[in-house]
């Protein structure tokens, strides 16, 4: 019955730290990661079965991507202003992260992963601060919310690309991409074809709807896992060597977006959100729990310097992209700086990306993982402060910029 003890440790510690962070009006994500670090491998080592907690956490990531896929709106993103905003946000911040990654001596792939983590803001923190600060009536709120949507689709693309790259040799990348795309098309058409059959099942009042949704999610995730194995066995039989990897979270993303076309699913969606919230919390815990905390590395001057540079650069990056977006879309620098302040917090997606791409606690990427974990914890706290006072920051910055330009004249 040790699994009960593990579950109790995870839920009680997350509840306690979660409550503290809500009380302090801080983002809860770093609290859960810190709970994991304290109680896991690097801390008191209280968990009996790390695998068990890790598996539960993986369900959280799958459900998160399913949720994003469902909420994703392909139509709204195509408006030219939004496209410009999204591309500017991606261009500026990704390049900033990538070049800094190369400067501090990471490999190309590591720098690519770092850049992805640096680029993606935390939708959860951003959206809750917009509502709390009563910003929804302002036009920039729309811009910011659509930026988050754009980031979601980029995240999906990055995940497809990165899991393919990470799967091994260069020659296998196209194979991976092709099988992933094939499976996605298969899911989308299958759900569309079956929607008449599925739709009434979601309207039932018993346990069938929730069973069906999890059967779909786990079923397709299992296919994503089994298909590459099957393919490589087949290829082996034909005398070719073939290794590829399909990310199950990508499959969940597209399953979600396919199901958004099924109207009767809406009613059930609330229930899946509750499951997502629970398992995602366990995921953050499990990520912290497996994190190899090395004091020597973390306190070395190089690491601290790199971390500080990364933080400074990514705050600057969001302000720069925000300013460009504000100028172009709203014709106002101040609005742009507000966009920058609101999009500063990073959080769940950076961690999810890292966990999905390199797997948790694997050997070779220790430096990168430590860097990103420390980065996310710090930037989610600083960032939520920025988002909370976004209006004031925008005003102060425009004030000082105006002063500077006047002095020059």
């Amino acid at each position: 019955m040790t699994f009960l003890v593990d579950l109790a440790i995870v839920t009680v510690s997350c509840l306690a730290l979660g409550l503290v962070s809500k009380y302090l009006r801080q983002a809860a994500i770093p609290a859960y990661i810190i709970a994991g670090i304290i109680l896991g491998k690097s801390g008191f080592d209280l968990i009996t079965s790390y695998d068990f907690v890790e598996w539960l956490g993986k369900i959280g990531v799958i459900l998160l991507m399913f949720y994003i896929g469902y909420e994703f709106n392909f139509k709204g993103i195509r408006e030219p202003g939004r496209l410009f905003a999204g591309c500017t946000d991606f261009g500026v911040n990704f390049i900033a992260g990538f070049s800094l990654g190369l400067v501090i001596g990471l490999s190309l792939i590591e720098a690519f992963i770092l850049a992805s983590a640096v680029y993606i803001s935390s939708s959860a923190i951003v959206i809750s601060s917009l509502i709390e600060n009563k910003r929804l009536i302002y036009p920039e709120a729309e811009t910011i919310v659509w930026l988050m949507v754009f980031e979601d689709i980029i995240l999906a693309i990055l995940l497809v690309v990165l899991t393919s790259i990470m799967s091994g040799s260069l020659a296998m990348i196209p194979v991976c991409l092709a099988t992933t795309l094939l499976l996605i098309v298969f899911i989308l058409t299958l759900i569309r074809r079956l929607s008449n059959f599925i739709s009434p099942l979601f309207e039932r009042d018993d346990e069938i709807p929730i069973l069906l949704i999890f059967a779909l999610i786990f079923g397709f995730s299992a296919i994503a896992y089994l298909l590459p194995a099957l393919l490589s066995a087949l290829a082996h039989f034909l005398g070719i060597s073939l290794h590829c990897h399909i990310s199950e979270v990508i499959v969940a993303f597209f399953l979600g977006s396919a199901l958004s076309g099924v109207k009767s699913f809406r009613k059930l969606f609330g229930a899946t959100i509750s499951f997502k919230n629970l398992f995602l919390t366990i995921f953050f815990f499990s990520f912290g729990m497996l994190f190899q905390f090395q004091f020597a590395t973390l306190s070395s001057a190089d690491f601290v310097l790199a971390l500080l540079a990364l933080i400074a650069l990514s705050i600057l990056g969001k302000f720069a992209s925000g300013a460009l977006i504000g100028k172009r879309l709203h014709g106002s620098l101040e609005t742009g700086l507000r966009v920058g302040a609101y999009t500063t917090p990073r959080g769940e997606f950076s961690i999810v990306l890292l966990a999905v791409v390199i797997g948790m606690g694997t050997g070779n990427y220790e430096l990168l993982i430590s860097l990103v974990v420390a980065y996310v914890i710090i930037l989610s706290i600083i960032g939520s402060g920025f988002a909370k006072h976004g209006d004031r920051i925008g005003k102060i910055m425009t004030g000082s910029i105006n002063k500077l330009t006047q002095q020059k004249r």
């Binding site: 909420e71 709106n73 917009l130 509502i131 009563k134 929804l136 009536i137 729309e142 919310v145």
Partner: protein
Amino acid sequence: MRISELPEIGTKYEIESPKGDKVAVIFLTTGEIELYVLEAGAEQPSVTRLTSEEARRVGSVLTGAMLTIEREDVEVTFSDISDLRINIHICPVTEGMVGKSIEDLGIRKRTGVTIIALSRRERTIISPPPETVFEEGDLIVAIGEREQIKACAREILGQV
């Protein structure tokens, strides 16, 4: 009226008055409704969060078509017949009325008000006959013009 989607938040309906004041109604995905009012030139908007029931009430007040509630008075107007207004008055019976019938009190004769319903311990009597005797705890629903309702409140209910 501008309608826009805010993914993960809800749907926003926005209207700007000629003076530059802005009003936005946001239907949150949680089912609640946020009402924003931003006066032209103001720093901060005023925001209130309503349940769907509260929002419906606010909405019906604004549309003005169906109901206006003033204390326990309900004024019913009809969207197609603009000059027809019926006041419906809801009040508990007062001490002086208990044990007397509608006829005894001469409600119709003295005030012009008609009792259209009586709510008695979760049982409702629609169009009670004149000999109906009031009991303690009864709730009366009466209709009449505003002046008649006032007269009824004064003379029958003994309210000033």
